[in-house]
């Protein structure tokens, strides 16, 4: 029995939210470990299950970039100077920005913590990606968004196809003995790859058309326009609400609520007019809810916990302490291992 893909994404977003609330390397390491254990024990043998490793590597790259940026651009200063880079003189209007200069142990540790934070969030997304097919999640969208979701699913396949087609064209180019570089090489690659992509998308469009995509079967034009308008207005309202919330924590709430109500109403009315059904839709089960909640638990505790150990000070340098209660909350996210075993 397959769990609802949404459950895995909620679980992972919960972990990611928890990670975003702390720079304590012990906590971040714990979250990384929890996500890793769950991925290794719960993932199915699917082609996208292998993407977890890619996300981890990407995380390492992010840490390296963050540290490098700190070395060159500075930021947090401290008393322990490790070494000093030659500093580039900048005009006075660029005050506050420096290139080069002293590199301190405190600053380096701070950059490392921040890099680790980003890498942990990435690994949570990677975990969700490995545990649940993102396309499957799109298929769980409301029926009124059916056509949009199919279009997105199709668009998601374009990138790997472009890579495959570029590879085969590059191989073919070798056969011709054409080792041109620079602008000419781009041209000789681009033309066949784009032609191929265009041709493929036409074939796909023809195939989808012949299989009933965009079918209106007996719905009047007026109804279709109304559905479209409602859905669009709803989504628009929702977006404005989200924006308001991000811009100003309190005045955003009423906007968000109005937007959400509009969106849900639009999707509801829309869904009644869409003559489409879903094959074996993912269903919310107790187990799925358990998985989602186990991830969210950590996030809730970390958001409301005022434990100072969550953000260890780097000036002066201190060994990070271990916040016990938040750590226990994060460990709850291991529950899926038990839940999925039983399933």
């Amino acid at each position: 029995m397959r769990l609802h893909s949404g459950a895995w994404w909620l679980w992972a977003l919960g972990l990611a939210t928890a990670a975003s609330r702390t720079t304590n390397p012990l906590m971040l390491g714990l979250i990384l470990a929890v996500a890793g254990v769950v991925v290794v024990t719960c993932r199915a043998t699917t082609p996208w299950a292998g993407t977890y490793g890619v996300f981890l590597k990407f995380g390492l790259l992010v840490i390296a970039l963050r540290v490098l940026l700190h070395v060159f651009l500075g930021g947090v200063a401290g008393p322990t100077t490790l070494f000093t880079l030659p500093q580039a003189p900048l005009p006075h209007w660029a005050q506050g920005i420096r290139i080069g200069g002293p590199v301190t142990a405190e600053g380096l540790v701070f950059a490392l913590y921040q890099g680790l934070l980003l890498a942990t969030i990435l690994s949570c997304v990677g975990a969700a990606n490995a545990l649940a097919n993102p396309k499957r999640l799109l298929r769980s969208l409301p029926a009124a968004l059916y056509e949009v979701s199919v279009a997105v699913v199709v668009a998601l396949t374009v990138a790997p196809q472009l890579v495959a087609s570029a590879r085969s064209v590059r191989r073919a180019r070798q056969l011709r003995g054409d080792t041109a570089r620079g602008a000419r090489a781009i041209r000789t690659m681009l033309v066949p790859v784009l032609e191929d992509a265009l041709e493929r998308s036409l074939v796909l469009a023809a195939s989808m058309d012949s299989r009933g995509y965009g079918r209106t079967a007996g719905i009047s034009k007026r109804d279709r326009v109304l559905t479209g308008a409602l859905v669009l207005a709803g989504l628009f309202g929702f977006c404005i609400g989200m924006y308001g919330l991000l811009a100003d924590a309190y005045s955003g709430w009423p906007l968000l609520v109005v937007g959400a109500v509009l969106a849900i109403a639009g999707l509801r009315v829309g869904a009644r007019r869409v003559p489409r059904t879903r094959y074996r839709p993912d269903r919310w089960t107790v187990k799925a809810a358990g998985v989602a909640l186990s991830g969210i638990a950590g996030a809730v505790v970390l958001v409301f916990s005022g434990d100072p150990a969550l953000s260890p000070t780097t000036v002066p340098l201190q060994a990070p302490e271990f916040p016990v209660l938040p750590a226990l909350a994060v460990l709850v996210a291991l529950l899926p291992v038990v839940i999925v075993r039983e399933a």
């Binding site: 699917t46 082609p47 097919n133 396309k135 199919v150 699913v153 199709v154 396949t157 085969s168 064209v169 191989r171 073919a172 180019r173 070798q174 056969l175 011709r176 003995g177 054409d178 080792t179 041209r187 000789t188 033309v191 066949p192 032609e195 493929r200 074939v203 796909l204 469009a205 023809a206 195939s207 989808m208 058309d209 012949s210 299989r211 009933g212 995509y213 965009g214 079918r215 209106t216 079967a217 003559p275 489409r276 059904t277 879903r278 094959y279 074996r280 839709p281």
Partner: protein
């Protein structure tokens, strides 16, 4: 079931089909035949309204399918009546695993969940896909993908199924699986099926009637094929031997063949003279991750030899060609052409030693006109200007100012061959060269390759082409060579790789040989 009334289809003032009036009754398997460019695909696409709703162009006259006029019903509104499977099933896949792909058309039609589940199970059983239900589509073999594409069209329970070249890309075994499934639909479900196919030797025997394009004549399969410019060897043999009515299956032909067999002498068997090898490959291994695509293959290719490499889809034929040429992956093993390993050469020199025409010849073309491509080929190989053009003129008549994409399959292949031959390679490797070619184009290719100076190695599924052309056949399975010998011995000893003439007359391979002996 399907009625074309005085249909004329024009693209940009150029008529593709003119005055076609045809009626295909319910429950019939109709084979559409004609040369490349005779409008077969256009005819098929007109049945579900893709022409002209999707493709543009103008359609005069009327096309009625199950009483619905395609002028008023676009393809999506005909999805419950016509199932359409295009030439490249992979490009038409929407979902990423078998079950979801099968369900896609039903979701569009808005069928309730329990009906969908029932039909998916039925279709999985009908097409023998039950073991593959959870598999990602990309990991299936060509034959399995083709069956999934057919299944995906079937779940909507259409009354008409339209198949455009369903077996062209498949090996003989997979093609038989697909056609057996199609025949079951016609016999058991009374479905009307319309098929266009270049490899007539595979499908002709299953058809009830044939439609010849561009004339628009419809009738008995044997009669139509005998009059058509394209016909499988069995029909050509019947014409040579004067059998009537013209048989279309090997089984029918055998009944006529007793007297012919008595009249024929023993075929002259010439032992091939041993030749100096131009290419020596030793212990070639190609590994992709854990998959061993080629497992220790050794071969010698002699000067002037014409070698066909056969085997199932995925048996390692392409990997072997690419490894031998040197541009593809080679995990271990050695290749020597006149003492040098082509892999050690620069790509430009490599193609002058061993040239490879890949499965998608169009990947090699990127300029706007044929003339530019030819000039580029001269420049790449350092030959005097006009060399490629001269080679091309010797191969086929190809207009110089056309865009390569606008050429027919045969013309495009000729252009790519000319581009590769400009470098005068010692060995020419071809990967599936006969895909998309009709019989006259294949004959032209065979005679053209016979007149080349270089040794030729080609990977193909086309048993008739091999019988016509190859002097030596290598059969691969699971990355290993399982048979290697003179063409006659290898193909006649295998039921899957035997050409039609040999199935009828034993030791003979081609109609031309039989004709010459009579």
């Amino acid at each position: 079931m399907i009625r074309f009334e005085d249909v004329t289809i024009t693209y940009a003032e150029r008529p593709v089909l003119a005055d076609i009036s045809v009626e295909i009754p319910e429950g019939e398997l109709c084979l559409v035949v004609g040369r490349t460019g005779s409008g077969k695909s256009t005819f098929l696409r007109a049945i579900n309204g893709l022409v002209p709703h999707f493709s543009g162009g103008t359609l005069a006259g009327r096309v009625l399918v199950d009483g619905r006029d395609t002028a008023r019903f676009p393809p999506r509104e005909l999805a419950d009546v016509v199932g359409f499977v295009g030439q490249d099933p992979v490009a038409g896949f929407v979902a990423d695993n078998v079950e979801d792909e099968l369900a896609y058309s039903m979701e569009s039609l808005g069928l309730p969940g329990d009906v969908m589940r029932k039909r998916v199970e039925e279709t999985l059983d009908l097409l023998g896909l039950a073991q593959l239900r959870d598999r990602p589509l990309a990991t299936l073999s060509g034959g399995q993908q083709q069956r999934v594409a057919i299944g995906a069209a079937l779940t909507a329970h259409p009354r008409v199924l339209v198949l455009d070249e369903p077996t062209s890309a498949l090996d003989p075994g997979a093609a038989e699986d697909v056609l057996a499934a199609v025949q079951r639909l016609v016999h058991d479900l009374g479905m009307t099926v319309v098929i266009a196919e270049h490899r007539l030797e595979r499908v002709a025997q299953y058809a009830d009637r044939a439609l010849l394009l561009p004339q628009g004549e419809i009738g008995e399969v044997g009669e139509i094929l005998a009059a058509a410019p394209v016909a499988p060897p069995v029909v050509r043999l019947a014409q040579v031997a004067g059998w009537s009515p013209v048989p279309v299956s090997v089984r029918d032909a055998r009944r006529h063949a007793t007297s012919l067999r008595e009249r024929l002498p023993e075929p002259a068997t010439t032992m091939p003279a041993p030749v100096e090898p131009v290419l020596e490959a030793r212990d070639i291994v190609v590994k992709y991750g854990d998959v061993r695509a080629v497992q220790g293959v050794s071969l010698d290719i002699g000067a002037g030899e014409r070698v066909a490499v056969m085997g199932r889809n995925g048996s390692g034929k392409s990997s072997l060609l690419w490894a031998v040429q040197g541009s593809g992956k080679r995990t271990s093993g050695t290749v020597s052409v006149g003492g040098t390993d082509p892999r050690a050469l620069k790509p430009a020199e490599r193609r002058r030693t061993v040239a490879l025409v890949p499965q998608q010849p169009s990947d090699l073309l990127y300029l706007e006109t044929v003339a530019e491509e030819c000039a580029q080929a001269d420049a790449e190989t350092g030959q005097p200007a006009g060399t490629c053009r001269k080679v091309l003129e010797g191969l086929a008549s190809v207009p110089q100012d056309t865009h390569p994409r606008d050429l027919s399959e045969g013309q495009r292949l000729a252009l790519v061959l000319a581009v590769m031959l400009t470098g005068a390679p010692d060995v020419l490797l071809l990967d599936e060269p006969t895909r998309g070619l009709d019989y006259p184009a294949k004959e032209a290719l065979a005679s053209l390759l016979k007149n080349l100076g270089s040794a030729v190695v080609l990977a193909t599924h086309d048993v008739e082409f091999v019988a016509e052309y190859a002097t030596r056949v290598i059969v691969m399975a699971e990355g290993e060579v399982v048979a290697d010998g003179p063409a006659r011995e290898v193909v006649t000893s295998s039921p899957i790789f035997a050409p039609q003439v040999s199935k009828i007359l034993g030791p003979w391979l081609t109609v031309a040989d039989v004709e010459a002996a009579l």
